[in-house]
C-alpha cells in the first residue's frame, strides 16, 4: 500500500499522540521526584518550568549530590533510606525469575515432547494452581513460612514468587516449544543424541526468544508483587513496592521521595528488558523446516 504524504503525516501524528499519552504519566512521575515540595501541588501544574532538585534522591539513597547531607526522618518516624530495599528487590526478582524459568523450561519441554497418561489433566492442574486468589493463601503461607523458618528470608520470597510464576511460565514456554517442529528432535534422536542433548544443543537455542519473553514477564511480576512481599517479610528485607507504601504516613505523604524511589525502581526492570530483548526477536527457527 502506498500512502500519500498527507496520510503518512497523519499516521505519524497518531503514532506520536499514542506514545505521548503513554509516556506522559512516566514523565510527570519523574518530574515529581525532581521537584521541591511546594512545586508538586502547584496549580496550574508545573510541567516544565520547575526548579530541579536531587533532594529526594539524596534522602532515599543516602548520598550527597552537592547539597547538604542529612538523613531525614519520615513524618511518621520511619526511614527515608531505601537503597538496601532496592537491592532486596533486585536479588528477589533476579533469583525468582531464574528459578522459575529454569524449572519451567524443563517442564514445558517435557510436556511439549513426551506423552504420558493423564497429560492433559496434568497441564490443567498446573494452570489451576493460579486460579486460587493469592489473598486466600497469604495467611496459611505466613504460618507455614513461620514454622519452616522461611519468614523474612530471601529464599522465602524467591520461592513464593517463583511458584506464583511457574504455571504461566510453563504454559507460555510449552506453546513456544510446540512451535518448534518435533521432527528436529526426532532427527536428532535417530542421529544418536540423548533427549537432554537434543534439548540443550538444538531446542534450547531455538527457544531463546520464548524464554526471554517469559523471563521478562516473571521479572516484572516479581518486581511489582506486593501481597506476599508484604506478608512474608518483617524487618530483614523489604521489596520496593512494600516500602513505597511506607512513604504514606499518618501525618502526610512524602511524594517526592516516593517518586524518587519509583523512578529508580524503573531502571532495573528497564535494564533487564534491554538485556533480554535481542532474544525477543522471533525467527530463530527460520530455515530449519519448510513451512
Amino acid at each position: 500500500m502506498v500512502l500519500t504524504p498527507a496520510q503518512r503525516l497523519l499516521r505519524a501524528i497518531a503514532a506520536w499522540a499514542v506514545v505521548l499519552l503513554f509516556a506522559f504519566p512516566i514523565y510527570y512521575w519523574i518530574t515529581v521526584s525532581l521537584k521541591l515540595g511546594r512545586d508538586i501541588f502547584a496549580i496550574p501544574p508545573k510541567i516544565f518550568n520547575f526548579e530541579a532538585s536531587a533532594k529526594s534522591y539524596e534522602e532515599v539513597f543516602g548520598i550527597s549530590l552537592g547539597f547538604e547531607q542529612g538523613i531525614a526522618v519520615l513524618p511518621g518516624g520511619g526511614d527515608f533510606y531505601m537503597a538496601p530495599r532496592l537491592m532486596d528487590s533486585i536479588v528477589i526478582a533476579v533469583c525468582s525469575t531464574a528459578l522459575a524459568v529454569v524449572i519451567a523450561t524443563l517442564a514445558a519441554y517435557a510436556l511439549s515432547r513426551m506423552r504420558f497418561r493423564g497429560q492433559h489433566h496434568f497441564v490443567f492442574w498446573i494452570l489451576s494452581t493460579r486460579m486460587m486468589p493469592p489473598v486466600a493463601v497469604a495467611i496459611p503461607m505466613f504460618f507455614i513460612y513461620k514454622d519452616f523458618g522461611l519468614l523474612d528470608t530471601y529464599s522465602g520470597v524467591v520461592l513464593v514468587h517463583a511458584l506464583m510464576n511457574m504455571p504461566l511460565a510453563v504454559l507460555l514456554l510449552k506453546s513456544f516449544f510446540d512451535d518448534i517442529p518435533k521432527e528436529i528432535d526426532e532427527a536428532a534422536l535417530i542421529d544418536g543424541a540423548s533427549r537432554f542433548l537434543v534439548f540443550r544443543k538444538l531446542v534450547l537455542p531455538m527457544a531463546m526468544g520464548g524464554i526471554a519473553a517469559t523471563a521478562v514477564l516473571c521479572f516484572i511480576f516479581s518486581w511489582t508483587e506486593f501481597l506476599f512481599a508484604l506478608t512474608l517479610t518483617q524487618t530483614g528485607l523489604k521489596t520496593v513496592p512494600v516500602v513505597s507504601s511506607t512513604f504514606v504516613t499518618s501525618t502526610g505523604t512524602a511524594w517526592g521521595n516516593m517518586a524518587a524511589l519509583g523512578t529508580a525502581a524503573m531502571l532495573p526492570a528497564f535494564v533487564f528488558i534491554l538485556l533480554v530483548q535481542k532474544n525477543l526477536v522471533r525467527g530463530l527457527t527460520l530455515g530449519s523446516v519448510k513451512q
Binding site: 517442529p181 521432527e183 528436529i184 526426532e186 532427527a187 536428532a188 534422536l189 535417530i190 542421529d191 544418536g192 543424541a193 542433548l197 538444538l202 537455542p205 531455538m206 530463530l284 527457527t285 527460520l286 530455515g287 530449519s288 523446516v289 519448510k290
Partner: protein
C-alpha cells in the same frame, strides 16, 4: 545393508486401529517405495520402522534383528524428513556432522566423512552457511547429507521431495536414485506421487486405509494392477473405467458397454453375463479419423509432445492420449481403436482383477 521384514504389523492410536496385519519383506539393497493417498498409513509404517512410533502388534526386523523395543539411535537407520528438520542453529557442516559428533568420532574422521558427503551432494561451497541461507533444494541435500555420513543399514525417506517445485523435484528424483545405485543401501521411500514411485522404485508397495493393496515392480503394478484402486492410482492421466458386462460373441467373450463391444482374448476366464469394470489406460486408446468406435471430442489439451483428449462414447467420458498434435475442435467426431490385450477387467462388485 540389510533386509527389512514386517510380520503381521499393526498400529493403534488409543482405540483406533489404523493398520492391521501388514506383512512383507524388503530385500537387501532394494529401493522400495510405499505409495498411497494421504492417511493410508505409509508414513506411520515408516515411523514405526524408524522407532518414532511404537509398534502395537507384530514384529519389525532389520537385518534379521527384532526392532520392536530398540531405540531409534540403535537401529542403524537414517531418515530424511518431509520438512528436512535441519538444525537451524548449526551450520551446514555441523548439521551433517552432528551424528558423528554425538558418537564421538575423531575430528579427522568427521571432516573426511562430511567432505565426502558434501562432495557427493555438491554442498562443499555451502558448508559454512546456516540452513536459513540455503535454497529449498540445497536444504534437501543437507538433509540427505546428514543421512549419508552415517552409512546406515537402511535409508528412510518420508516424502522428501514434496516441498520442492516441479523442476527441482525431477532433478532430485534422479539424484536420489543415482545415489542409491552407487551406495546400494536398502531404501524405504514414502510418497503419494505415483511418478516418483514409478521412476525410482525397484518395488512398489501400494497402500490404502492401512492395508497393502499390491506389491510389485513398477511394470507389474502398471501392467497388471490388482484392483480398481491400484489401477486408478497409477498412471497419468488416470485410467478410464467403463461399466459393462460380458457377452458371448460368436463363441468368444466380449466386453459390452452401451453400443461398444470389445472382443476379449479367448483365454480370458470370465462368465457370460458377469458385471465387470473395464479399465482402459488413455495411452492404450488409439485415436484417429477412421476406426470401429466413434467418439465425440469434448476437450483437447496439448502438453506439447502429446495431446490429451476428453471424449464421449454413449454418454461415458473417456480420456485418450495422442502423440504429437491432434487437431480437433469440441464437437468433432473421431474414431478409436482399442487393443483388447490392453484391457484390464475387474469384477464390478469386488473390484478385484479378473483377467
Amino acid at each position: 545393508m540389510a533386509s527389512v521384514e514386517y510380520e503381521r504389523v499393526g498400529k493403534s492410536f488409543g482405540a483406533v486401529k489404523v493398520m492391521e496385519d501388514i506383512s512383507f519383506t524388503i530385500s537387501d539393497q532394494k529401493f522400495v517405495v510405499l505409495l498411497g493417498p494421504s492417511g493410508c498409513g505409509k508414513t506411520t509404517l515408516l515411523r514405526m520402522t524408524a522407532g518414532l512410533e511404537t509398534i502395537s502388534d507384530g514384529e519389525i526386523r532389520i537385518g534379521g534383528k527384532l526392532m520392536n523395543k530398540v531405540h531409534p539411535r540403535d537401529r542403524d537407520i537414517a531418515m530424511v524428513f518431509q520438512n528436512y528438520a535441519l538444525y537451524p542453529t548449526l551450520k551446514v557442516f555441523d548439521n551433517i556432522a552432528f551424528s558423528l559428533q554425538v558418537r564421538r568420532q575423531s575430528k579427522e574422521e568427521i571432516k573426511k566423512q562430511v567432505d565426502w558427503a558434501a562432495d557427493l551432494l555438491n554442498l562443499t561451497p555451502y558448508l559454512d552457511r546456516y540452513p536459513k541461507e540455503l535454497s529449498g533444494g540445497q536444504r534437501q541435500r543437507v538433509a540427505m547429507g546428514r543421512a549419508l555420513v552415517r552409512h546406515p543399514q537402511v535409508f528412510l525417506f518420508d516424502e522428501p521431495l514434496s516441498n520442492l517445485d516441479a523442476k527441482l523435484r525431477g532433478q532430485m528424483r534422479y539424484e536420489i536414485r543415482r545415489l542409491h545405485d552407487r551406495l546400494q543401501t536398502t531404501t524405504i521411500y514414502v510418497t503419494h506421487d505415483q511418478i516418483e514411485a514409478m521412476t525410482m522404485a525397484d518395488e512398489i508397495v501400494v497402500m490404502r486405509d492401512g492395508e497393502i493393496e499390491q506389491i510389485g515392480t513398477p511394470e507389474e503394478i502398471y501392467d497388471r494392477p490388482a484392483n480398481c484402486f491400484v489401477a486408478d492410482f497409477i498412471g497419468s492421466p488416470s485410467i478410464n473405467f467403463l461399466q459393462g458386462d460380458i457377452q458371448n460373441v460368436a463363441g468368444t467373450p466380449a466386453f459390452h458397454t452401451g453400443s461398444m463391444v470389445l472382443p476379449l482374448p479367448t483365454e480370458t476366464v470370465v462368465r457370460t453375463g458377469q458385471k465387470v469394470t473395464c479399465g482402459l489406460r488413455p495411452v492404450d486408446v488409439a485415436v484417429g479419423r477412421e476406426g470401429p468406435v466413434k467418439a465425440e471430442v469434448i476437450l483437447v489439451e496439448s502438453t506439447g509432445a502429446e495431446s490429451h483428449l476428453l471424449l464421449a462414447i454413449d454418454g461415458q467420458e473417456i480420456r485418450a492420449v495422442a502423440q504429437g498434435r491432434f487437431r480437433a475442435k469440441p464437437g468433432d467426431t473421431c474414431a478409436l481403436s482399442i487393443d483388447p490385450a490392453t484391457l484390464h477387467l475387474f469384477d464390478a462388485s469386488s473390484e478385484q482383477r479378473i483377467n
